[in-house]
Symmetry: C2
Subunit: 261 residues, 2 copies
């Protein structure tokens, strides 16, 4: 099963991706969690200790690997390079393990308006495609809101694109842009997770903006979430019954999403 | 005066940048506001009506302009292109005006680990440098947390890099990464704006993490901020006395930052 988690920065997308990875792993699934957002920290969200998280070098910064696979030096203009580098061994070689989760930190893939055809982006794009198309684990990708770089074959292989939304028009605008782009590139299935919900009014505000069958669930704005961030404790390591119930419902909704294939 | 506003996604960085632009403009300064973050919406934050904001095409998506200036087609690998395209006319030609502010929407500049040398990135990087080095207005740039692409000459011309932080370790980690990168590339002056402060405890948590003379001010987490986002009203158009006071102090602290030159 292939899940992509996206949404505006700051909505709690990485927290949701990390919790999902932990719920799948605790349920006995083999999980590959992919951090493809340079502004996120999926390592901390799955509960990897800070020193180990800080030691990880993203694939986007591995100049020797990029050179070896593409034949071109990163950051130098006008070179020819392989547009189909070998990538199938990278996830296993560079992932770190934590509580049944393999974590691969990729770094960001440039999207821009026009698409950027440089060696490092080509490697990262190929790697992400290979993971989504060919891995047999539960794959959870924490992605930036810019998803234009996903090719059609890759997009069709995503079983569920989860868009995290908080009550607010900026977050909603980003969600709408993502849905439009996702349809254009062939993503067939979406789900919305409402996050940081303070009250019934905010819940209804969100419910009014998406079809009911697209809402996977909502997570309340609780002090425990803010405190776990302040104290650098993964939320997955200190869930209380209320959050476990809210998030368990989201987990089950994701798990039962129909595979696209 | 050249101000760069940065911080983790979701901290309210764009709201702060938009308010600053409005305060400077209302105070009689000529202002050029630059949106260099594809996940932000500086147009809305300065109060541009939604239909006008949506109609703006970012420079990063202007394929004809990119081709004309760099000599190369965006998104096609292995082409040679001009590394010093003419950019000095672009801000005036493509900015939109609102309440004494010129707004230029650039789109994102790829940073990655290795740096991406494609035509569109080269154009955007040159444009941002030219604006920071040569414009004579108050320039306020809303930037992504990735700032590695700023060259040393450009970095030194930034009078103040404002980092927006909310109480939380993720936002703090991003701020620390930004400060480290900024020093490496030659930015001499920083200031911290604390945002979404709920109580005295959170205020002290932030104060304990930065030198006192680096804290420009703090903005309380008020319902009016959340409501203005929900109702698509620029915060600048509905400031109450409390927020005007909090934000006025930040504005004055920014204004009195010593020019770097």
């Amino acid at each position: 099963m292939k899940l992509a988690v996206t949404g505006k920065g700051g909505t709690g997308k990485t927290t949701i991706a990390g919790l999902l990875a932990r719920f799948f792993a605790d349920d006995g699934f083999r999980v590959l969690a992919v951090d493809a957002d340079p502004d996120a920290n999926l390592a901390s969200a799955i509960g990897l200790p800070e020193d180990q998280a800080r030691a990880i070098v993203p694939i986007s910064q591995r100049r020797r690997l990029i050179k070896e696979r593409t034949g071109a030096q990163p950051g130098r203009p006008g070179q020819m390079f392989k547009v189909n580098p070998t990538v199938s061994d990278i996830a296993d070689a560079y992932a770190v393990d934590h509580r049944g989760i393999k974590l691969l930190v990729m770094g960001g893939i440039q999207t821009g308006g026009a698409g950027c055809a440089c060696p490092e982006n080509t490697l990262l794009r190929n790697l992400l495609s290979e993971i989504i198309l060919n891995r047999d684990e539960v794959v959870i990708v924490d992605m930036e809101a810019g998803i234009e770089h996903l090719g059609r074959a890759t997009s069709r292989a995503i079983d569920l694109m989860i868009i995290v939304v908080e009550p607010g028009s900026r977050s909603l605008d980003t969600a709408e842009t993502i849905m439009r782009l996702a349809r254009e590139i062939g993503v067939s299935s979406f789900g919305i997770v409402g996050n940081k919900i303070r009250n019934e009014e905010e819940k209804r505000w969100l419910e009014a903006r998406f079809p009911g069958d697209k809402i996977l669930g909502m997570v309340s704005d609780r002090d425990i979430i803010r405190e776990s961030d302040l104290n650098r404790i993964a939320l997955a390591d200190r869930l209380d019954d209320d959050l476990r119930k809210e998030f368990g419902a989201i987990y089950r909704a994701c798990k039962s999403a129909r595979p696209a294939r």
